[in-house]
């Protein structure tokens, strides 16, 4: 075995894409780690307890997001959650596996996704051109300690749309009471260019 002198560097799916319009911003989200947690049979109570004990957050119901100190999580499917941690940890799945014991299947997901945030008062207008779901405040609320999340279609793409709760410091760069118009879009990494295209065209069509 040779001494390894070769090193690898990271590449962002969209090279840190950042575009702004008068009341709209589209920004590639970077950093942190993502894991999926899928409860094994009968594992939800244990998972709930262990996660709460370790990270201080409940497991949210379908369609909901909650944040905790250091990240946020949302329910992505029956008995399945996606958890995002703000700090990097290449062995997050191993660590979570140890915390959660045999209550859940843990899968590293960080690199599977490209994440774009659509920020600003025009964000709902952009999404209205792309997404069939009702993302109005009534139907897809974001408030203190409770945001919304949905897996759905954006154009021809399969995405998670995540509207973080106000306590989350994910997109806004810090906790805030007055930034309700932040929507994170997660899409499979290989689609990154198409995702950026769809969203930027929708934005251009509004401002064009």
């Amino acid at each position: 075995m040779s001494d390894n002198k070769t090193s690898l560097v990271e590449t962002l799916p969209l090279n840190g894409l950042h575009k702004t319009w008068p009341i709209l911003e589209i920004k590639e989200m970077v950093g942190g780690e993502i894991c999926s947690l899928t409860a094994l049979k009968g594992g939800v109570p244990t998972l709930r307890k262990k996660f709460q004990n370790k990270y201080g957050a409940p497991l949210p119901a379908q369609g909901k997001v909650v944040s905790f100190n250091g990240g946020f999580l949302f329910c992505s499917a029956p008995e399945q959650w996606f958890v995002h941690f703000n700090t990097e940890n290449a062995f997050l799945d191993v660590e979570l596996g140890a915390v959660l014991k045999a209550s859940a299947a843990v899968t590293l997901q960080t690199d599977a996704w490209v994440r774009l945030a659509i920020i600003g008062a025009s964000a709902p207008q952009v999404l209205e051109r792309l997404v069939t779901l009702d993302l109005s405040d009534q139907a897809f609320p974001a408030g203190m300690n409770m945001g919304s999340a949905a897996r759905t279609m954006l154009g021809h793409l399969n995405v998670f749309i995540i509207r973080p709760d106000n306590a989350s410091d994910s997109a806004s760069g810090g906790a805030s009471d007055s930034a309700p118009n932040i929507y994170e879009i997660w899409c499979a990494r290989s689609f990154a260019n198409s995702l950026a295209h769809e969203i930027c065209v929708a934005a251009e069509n509004i401002y064009g």
């Binding site: 075995m1 390894n4 070769t6 599977a112 499979a188």
Partner: protein
């Protein structure tokens, strides 16, 4: 020409004159005009030619129901054919062209058809043009095709942008006339989310065209006041220039907004936006459309709907004629006379068909000149304003196949209770209630019903005061005893006689009538003609209208641009693109890419001096087989499978056993569909007792995942197994060739031993590379060489390929694409997509022995059927040209059929086909895989590979599909 027919009044902006051209000639109108109103103001009568007889035609209506005044608007790639002049807003510099005439509108040679009209009766073409048989395509049809059609496409790509949108509301109000405005007001004030859509560029509907008073003020003033209040409500969305074109299941409505057609300068904004509106309830307040009466020559330019004549006078200050005859069978139409007089026109006759006995004929060809009564009396006229009553615009209630109800008192169809699904309501003229008072009242009531149905309280509302004159009609469909033809469907040239002739020939069902005569199939979707035609048929058959039936309309309500339905999904962006992490690097290397489903994959990497792709591919194969090559295999589907029952689950998915696969090993697996045919293949790696990673083919990743979830959730819901896709998480590269291990060892961290002993064929494991980067290593080979697949988190994918190429320099490592991959797998005899085509079985693919006997698996029982085990079935074998010369004449053709020597080229003699072929640089010969009847028994025989399409016929030897290293020794070194 000045605006000879412009008078005072109307809602146009006289401070903004607008220049435009019609058939090359300059005219002037005003902002707020439509093309039609501007042409009328300029005294233009002749605007088009009819479909079949090329008869001269004028503007008939003032709305989207217009059958005659279809224009090509705009120039070059933006030329839009068949645009209704009656709704096209005038803008500066607009170019308008008439259609379906040659050489000119005024002199159209095809008008000879009009003289032949007696021979061109309904359905005449079914009875002739049959002799001689070959003349149809060569002679008759081209003539018919040239004569038919309306406007022409430019032939250029549509240059405009389009987009789509999705809206949600409590109440969708369709139509912003008196009824719709009231509905929106009531619902809006109650706090509901309301969308109010109207096809016109101004809100108000019929109120814009009538000189009525509401609450003592003009109808326009009232409209503006209500519109202003609605605009101020955050919960109400007003959508002008928006047509609700269709009703679909569960409260989904299709709508389209025309954003830029009215602008002189086209911005980057999308030309049209297609909306999908999700509404809890809807209120149809779409008004009514006036209809004509079948009179002889009632298609002459200047014969118009009475309501349209009023619209042009009242809304646009344009007189359709200076001497007008009014013909009406109802109270509403008769009002036209007074309005015209007030506008300064002379009304030369008023014919109330309820009183008059005299029939009359219309004189004039390119414009109306007079009417002549049967008693010889003649009255000069340049416009005939006809009202045959009103048809409520009920089309949207039919889109879910609801049938309307006939009401004798108004002689019209209204929406039936059955047609209105629980979430749709109707108000105003669309409901057959024609007075303004009734419309306001029903609109308010429909609003209140919507509010109540959604569990809110509607505030009491003061109903505005308005006219409530009763509508009185005595049906009068056709004036009998005239000489000329009476038009029913003016665009498709269907006359009253055609309808009777069709009935005479047995086409008595209204659906058959429609198909035989083409009645109601013109671009107005029968708005101008359906009820009239039906009434004439009923009359002819001495039946009532309900007995005769009605056709029901289909979406869209008015025609919608195909581009609007396509939205932004155009050109390269028709479908999304998936790119692997090495994509940009490969692009930099000059790779040629190929589509594999949505993925873009590098097909081959040409180097300077290589002039043909074959040179490149041969080089990549030779380099890989002689040293080492690297290929991006990220696109294979990867599924993470975890849980105590994961092994048992896989055991049922694959034909071969998986439960006892040891940790740290991979296994090839074949899965069947439940019908016993091969579905997909791939490998499964076991990382722990409860953790497996499956790979699928690139093409089947989605369908296999769906299948696994079906098995897990529906068939075996208590199995404790969880699935999640990790395709995008890992960038994965195949490193293949005798030097693969040496290359690999240069980047694998030294605590991981990848020697043949420690990491043998089919081993898998979690390792680290390049100083602690997590990686997954699999010792798998598709090429038949010593090979590995190395996966790293996708963020390192770009960096890893560069690193591999860099450390591989000393081995002359090459990147190879899908083409070389394909050559090597054919050399190795691996089945791929061309073989796993959904029509082949494990047995016929040569994998019959893999089918486990003792366990059940998906597809097992049905794979035992006779047809899937036929001994004379097509078996996968290899083929080589008998003459091994490396020349194009020996090139095998994939898709060639296999036919015995001396046998004729017929289907009975076809014994199979070639599925995949390649030139093998290793064997210096073309080789092929294919399916041959009893192929497994025929090794060594010779047969012809015949491609009749490309004219090749190559004698081939049947051989084993494993051309290279059949014992697999290279894999294990």
């Amino acid at each position: 020409m000045t605006q000879t027919h412009r008078v005072g009044g109307g809602h146009i902006d006289r401070s903004q004159p607008v220049e435009f051209t019609f058939d090359g000639k300059k005219y002037q109108g005003f902002s707020g005009d439509t093309v039609a109103s501007a042409l009328i103001a300029n005294g233009v009568k002749l605007v088009g030619r009819s479909f079949k007889y090329h008869r001269p035609r004028g503007i008939f209506s003032a709305g989207s129901d217009e059958p005659n005044a279809l224009m090509t608007i705009g120039e070059g790639a933006r030329a839009t054919p068949n645009t209704r002049a009656t709704i096209a807003e005038l803008y500066e510099g607009m170019t308008v062209q008439s259609q379906n005439r040659f050489p000119s509108l005024n002199f159209d040679v095809m008008a000879v058809n009009d003289l032949l009209a007696p021979f061109l009766s309904a359905g005449f073409y079914y009875k002739t043009f049959m002799w001689p048989a070959s003349f149809w395509e060569k002679l008759y049809e081209p003539i018919i095709r040239r004569a038919a059609g309306l406007g022409a496409l430019s032939g250029e790509p549509d240059p405009d942008q389009y987009d789509k949108g999705f809206l949600h509301c409590d109440v969708l109000v369709i139509g912003a006339g008196s009824a719709g405005l009231m509905t929106a007001l009531v619902a809006g004030r109650a706090g509901l989310r309301v969308i109010l859509a109207d096809e016109d560029f101004q809100m108000g509907g019929r109120l814009l065209s009538e000189l009525e008073q509401i609450n003592g003020d003009t109808a326009l003033a009232w409209t503006m006041q209500i519109t202003a209040e609605l605009s101020s409500m955050p919960n109400v969305r007003l959508m002008g220039r928006t047509t609700v074109y269709g009703v679909f299941d569960h409260g989904i409505y299709g709508a389209v907004t025309r954003n830029t057609d009215h602008l002189a300068v086209k911005t980057k904004k999308p030309r049209e936006t297609l909306w999908r509106i999700y509404a809890k309830r809807s209120v149809l307040a779409s008004g009514a459309t006036e209809r004509s009466i079948a009179l002889s020559n009632n298609d002459r330019p200047g014969v118009m709907l009475a309501s349209a004549v009023r619209t042009y006078a009242n809304r646009f200050g344009a007189l359709c004629g200076k001497r007008v005859v009014v013909v009406s069978n109802n109270s509403d139409g008769l009002r036209t006379a007074n309005i015209l007089k007030a506008s300064g026109a002379e009304v030369s006759a008023v014919i109330d068909t309820r009183l008059s006995e005299n029939s009359f004929d219309i004189r004039g060809r390119k414009a109306v000149r007079a009417i002549r009564f049967s008693d010889g009396r003649k009255v000069d006229a340049d416009c005939i304003a006809i009202s045959g009553g009103w048809n409520p615009n009920i089309q949207l209630t039919c889109h879910k196949r609801g049938r309307p109800l006939w009401r004798d008192d108004i002689a019209a169809f209204v929406p039936s209770k059955d047609a209105l699904t629980a979430d749709m309501d109707v108000a105003g003229a669309a409901n057959g209630s024609f007075s303004t008072h009734q419309c306001l009242q029903e609109g308010a009531q429909a609003g209140a019903r919507a509010v109540q149905a959604l569990g809110k309280n509607a505030a009491a509302i003061d109903l505005p005061q308005a006219d409530d004159a009763p509508f009185e009609i005595t049906p009068f469909w056709e004036m009998k005893g005239c000489k000329g033809s009476a038009w029913v469907d003016p665009q498709n040239d269907v006359t009253a006689k055609d309808i009777k002739l069709a009935a005479q020939e047995g086409f008595k069902s209204v659906e058959l009538l429609k198909r035989y005569t083409t009645l109601g199939m013109a671009t107005d979707q029968g708005k101008a003609s359906n009820v009239l035609g039906l009434a004439i048929l009923a009359d002819h058959l001495s039946q009532t209208i309900p007995e005769t039936g009605t056709t029901i309309s289909r979406p869209p309500y008015t025609p919608v641009s195909i581009s609007a339905f396509a939205g932004a999904s155009r050109f390269e962006h028709f479908r999304p693109v998936r790119k692997t992490p090495s994509h940009n690097w490969a692009q930099g290397q000059g790779a040629v890419f190929v589509s594999a489903g949505l993925w873009q994959r590098a097909q081959y990497f040409p180097r300077p001096g290589e002039t043909h792709w074959r040179q490149t591919v041969d080089r990549e194969v030779v380099a890989t087989r002689s040293s080492v090559g690297i290929c991006d295999v990220t696109t294979l589907g990867k599924i993470d499978i975890q849980g105590p029952d994961a092994g048992a689950f896989l055991n049922r998915i694959y034909v071969n056993a998986f439960a006892k696969l040891v940790v740290g090993k991979c296994r090839y697996g074949l899965m069947l569909r439940e019908d016993g045919f091969a579905m997909d293949d791939g490998t499964v790696a076991r990382f722990s007792d409860t953790h497996f990673v499956m790979t699928t083919t690139t093409a089947n990743a989605v369908s296999v995942y769906r299948h696994l979830e079906f098995c897990r959730q529906c068939l075996w819901p208590n199995m404790d197994v969880k699935l999640i896709s990790v395709t995008d998480q890992w960038a994965q590269y195949a490193i293949a060739g005798p030097n693969a291990r040496k290359l690999l060892q240069k980047i694998v961290d030294k605590e991981h031993d990848v020697s043949n002993e420690a990491f043998s064929y089919m081993a898998c494991g979690e390792i680290t590379v390049c100083g602690g980067i997590r990686a997954r290593l699999f010792r798998l080979s598709f090429s038949g060489e010593l090979a590995y697949e190395l996966g790293v988190p996708a963020r390192y994918g770009d960096s890893l390929i560069k690193a591999l190429m860099s450390v591989g320099e000393e081995f002359n490592a090459v990147p190879y694409g899908t083409e070389a991959l394909g050559v090597m797998r054919i050399e190795k005899g691996h089945a791929a997509g061309n073989e796993l085509n959904g029509q082949t079985t494990a047995k016929h693919l040569g994998m019959g022995r893999m089918l486990a006997k003792k366990k059940d698996f998906i597809g097992k029982t049905l794979s035992e059927r006779e047809g899937l085990n036929a001994e004379d079935g097509l078996y996968l074998v290899g083929f080589k040209p008998v003459s091994r010369a490396d020349t194009q004449t020996d090139a095998l053709a994939s898709g060639a059929h296999l036919i015995g020597q001396g046998k004729s080229d017929t289907a009975e003699n076809s014994e199979g086909y070639l599925s995949s072929v390649a030139y093998s640089p290793s064997l210096k010969s073309y080789i092929g895989l294919g399916f041959l009847k009893r192929g497994q028994e025929r090794i060594g025989q010779e047969i012809r590979a015949v491609d009749l399409l490309r004219g090749t016929d190559v004698l081939v030897t049947v051989c084993s599909a494993h051309f290279i290293d059949p014992k697999g020794e290279r894999l294990r070194v």
